[in-house]
């Protein structure tokens, strides 16, 4: 377990958040157990960087340059078909957006180059699919790769990228193994926090901020969900809470969670931590309300999205979820631009892949289409101001500081609640 080494979770809500002091502030119903459920965010505080102009939107982005010159390809590995394709297509769109904002190309040493995204489907994020996609990208002579979207597929493609000297930036692989176990010298990076950073944030929120003592921990047994839930469950006792129940739901396609919820109800916890994706978390929250459970449910970025909004509806009110960076809100400038371009809301990882693409584009502008130099440039990324926060990589390939925002679901939509920065020690 890597958890112990990353206990440097620093609450740096600094200028962003005013936390209500301990003790309930009165008004509204207080669920038994949680002493501070009415903790509120500072009203009207500009929480999200999204509300400011995009730092990377080049001034000339509205007047696209007709890109010319030789074609340089940025690879993308992810799900482009099947029932998880919205994750993959969303991330690919993020790259496309970055390229289009750069004018469809770049100039290096006075010579113009045309930029393209080479998106390869990894056949439902399977190991074999990831390897074939990776080989295709190598054959296509891409200069660097963004992907995969899920952790196992990212790890399966990793060795091939490493063997071919390609920088790999995953927008969304949160499993610690992705960077911890990568072949040396490292070529894999990620622009998202790790499970073992994000899980404790949820635990801290429930126990410390909201004052809930008895927590039920639920996960969907996916690599992602279980990783998050385990990390949260490890942190809860350290914060002074107790894990009173551990339940698992079967992932895949909606489903019935009433029997798990009935069991949880029998243990009368103060709150639930749910590690998993919106596909299950939405119905889970809804069915909890149907069973008359009004206790808060907290979780991670897997369900801090519009999908949860549409699946849980008003039943989601009172849920909390952390997300990397200032996260995606329907009001943000990024989402507005995204929607204007792709005629739909951001689903999940477009901002992360957008940042990853911009890091690569900057490297290309600096050193041209040279695989090895791009790897070095990505490794040297320091204080890069992206839409998901300030990005610097440590020697492992993780973000040195990950900004998380905890969002509260109220009145049928996500509202920013609290910002947390966690520091990631180098290996």
């Amino acid at each position: 377990m890597q958890l112990r080494s990353i206990r440097g979770v620093a609450l740096s809500g600094v200028a962003l958040i005013v936390l209500a002091a301990c003790g309930s502030s009165g008004g509204g119903t207080i669920v038994a157990g949680c002493t501070n459920l009415n903790a509120t965010a500072a009203a009207g505080a500009p929480i999200s960087r999204f509300t400011n102009p995009l730092p990377n939107a080049a001034a000339n982005s509205d007047a696209p340059i007709a890109a010319s010159g030789p074609v340089v390809k940025i690879g993308f590995q992810g799900m482009l078909a099947g029932d998880l394709k919205n994750y993959g297509i969303d991330a690919r769109n993020g790259i496309q957006m970055a390229i289009d904002e750069a004018g469809g190309g770049f100039t290096y040493n006075g010579a113009p180059y045309t930029l393209q995204v080479d998106a390869q489907d990894d056949v439902d994020a399977t190991a074999a699919g990831a390897q074939t996609a990776a080989q295709k990208l190598v054959d296509d002579k891409v200069v660097a790769v963004i992907g995969g979207v899920f952790s196992t597929a990212s790890i399966a493609g990793q060795k091939i990228y490493h063997d071919n000297g390609l920088a790999q930036i995953s927008p969304s692989a949160t499993n610690p193994k992705y960077t911890d176990e990568q072949p040396k010298p490292g070529t894999s990076y990620r622009v998202i926090g790790r499970d073992d950073q994000q899980g404790p944030i949820g635990a801290d929120l429930l126990v410390k901020t909201l004052g809930c003592k008895k927590i039920a921990v639920v996960d969907d047994k996916s690599t992602y969900g279980a990783g998050l839930a385990t990390a949260a469950a490890d942190q809860i006792p350290k914060d002074g809470g107790t894990v009173v129940d551990t339940e698992h739901v079967t992932a895949g396609a909606g489903g019935d969670f009433k029997s798990q919820l009935t069991s949880i109800k029998g243990k009368s916890p103060d709150a639930i931590y749910y590690g998993g994706y919106s596909r299950e978390a939405g119905p889970f929250a809804k069915q909890a309300k149907d069973l008359g459970m009004t206790i808060p449910i907290a979780g991670g970025d897997g369900w801090q999205n519009a999908d949860f909004t549409s699946l849980a509806g008003a039943s989601g009110n009172g849920a909390f979820a952390s997300n990397g960076g200032p996260a995606v809100s329907s009001l943000t400038a990024f989402n507005t631009k995204y929607k204007a371009k792709f005629n739909q809301d951001v689903f999940q990882y477009a901002p992360q892949s957008y940042d990853a693409a911009n890091i690569l584009i900057n490297a290309l502008k600096k050193d041209g289409p040279n695989k090895a130099k791009i790897v070095a440039d990505v490794a040297a990324t320091k204080d890069y101001k992206g839409v998901t926060g300030t990005i610097s990589f440590n020697s492992k390939g993780d973000l040195t500081d990950s900004v998380f925002t905890i969002w509260k679901f109220s009145s049928g939509d996500w509202k920013p609640f609290k910002a947390v920065t966690t520091h990631n020690p180098t290996s």
Binding site: D83, V249, S259
Partner: protein, 323 residues
């Protein structure tokens, strides 16, 4: 050891048992309705119709579409709400029936005399096509309706049964009774039974094979349309729900004795209960060694046990003559 006894004694309460029983029966009624369609098709064709779950999935999207188009929500008045749901169900039944009919016509009919597993492959292919078609052209995201029908009745302690659960169980039993009547008492039903017993002999006796088989698909698929209503009142929908729901319905049909209508019903309820109790109590009865992630293991282990002792399912005496 004491730990295990505690788990058994304090972990399992009468109230909990009763609530899980209600949860299980409600869930089972959906499986049962889908299983009826599986079982009927199996009865006449001996075909595992893998596409049946996806027909059901299309049904859920149809009802969802009707509710969206009519702008129905929790604030809609009750009579209007019921009218919309009824309309949605009728449209879904029609769409499913038409789809079932077309699938049989396009993908199965010419394989009627092919080797036994050939139509199975065709069914799998159709299942892929339906799922992919939905994600490509209709929607690639999950959807859910807000809680439209609320309200519950307390029965014992803090155990209650919701109105939706009552609707689920009543409508699935009503459908089974209607179906049983159709099969046992009507001319068409006689044709279906004849085809199920011996296809060639039935054809020689003047039963129109094509129309009986088509009709079986139409009825089975229309039932999936009713199951779609029960599903969408409770759960979310996506292109992939069909496969899993179909798989569970197939399991239910096998538990009951595939080809047997009351058996499919019984199997559905049985599976629903097994899942509910499995998720709730597998930890208690295994001394905490297994957790609720073994829910499906519990259900499948029961299935295997049943089939070891009754190799043709709960209600089917006749041993399947085909290997």
């Amino acid at each position: 050891m004491q730990h295990c006894v505690d788990l058994l004694t304090s972990g399992i309460t009468p109230e909990g048992l009763l609530q899980q029983l209600i949860n299980g029966i409600a869930l089972g009624s959906i499986y049962a309705l889908i299983a009826l369609g599986y079982s009927m098709v199996y009865g006449v064709l001996e075909l595992i119709n893998f596409a049946h779950g996806d027909v059901f999935m299309i049904g859920t999207f149809t009802i969802y579409g009707v509710v969206q188009v009519t702008h129905t929500g929790p604030s809609t008045s009750l009579p209007l709400l019921l009218a919309v749901l009824l309309l949605g169900t009728l449209v879904a039944m029609a769409v499913c029936a038409l789809l079932g009919f077309s699938i049989e016509r396009v993908a199965y009919r010419r394989l009627r005399n092919a080797p036994r597993l050939a139509p199975l492959i065709s069914a799998i292919g159709v299942s892929f096509v339906l799922e992919a078609w939905v994600t490509t052209y209709l929607t690639d995201r999950d959807h859910a309706l807000p809680t439209l029908i609320s309200g519950q009745w307390p029965i014992y302690g803090n155990v209650s049964v919701t109105n939706v659960q009552i609707v689920m169980v009543v409508s699935s039993i009503a459908m089974m009774v209607g179906l049983q009547f159709l099969v046992r008492r009507t001319r068409l039903g006689r044709g279906m039974r004849a085809v199920a017993q011996d296809r060639e002999a039935a054809a020689l006796m003047g039963v129109n094979l094509d129309s009986v088989i088509s009709f079986t698909f139409v009825i089975g698929s229309a039932l999936a349309g009713v199951a779609a209503l029960l599903w969408i009142l409770n759960y979310s929908i996506s292109s992939s729900i069909g496969f899993l729901a179909g798989l569970k319905a197939f399991t239910a049909a096998v538990i009951g004795g595939i080809g047997n209508i009351p058996g499919a019903m019984l199997g559905g309820f049985f599976l629903g209960l097994a899942e509910a109790f499995g998720a709730a109590y597998v930890a208690n009865i295994s001394c905490g060694f297994f957790s609720s992630s073994y829910q499906s293991v519990f259900a499948f282990a029961l299935l295997i046990l049943i089939l070891v002792f009754r190799p043709s399912g709960l209600l089917r005496e006749r041993v399947s003559e085909r290997a």
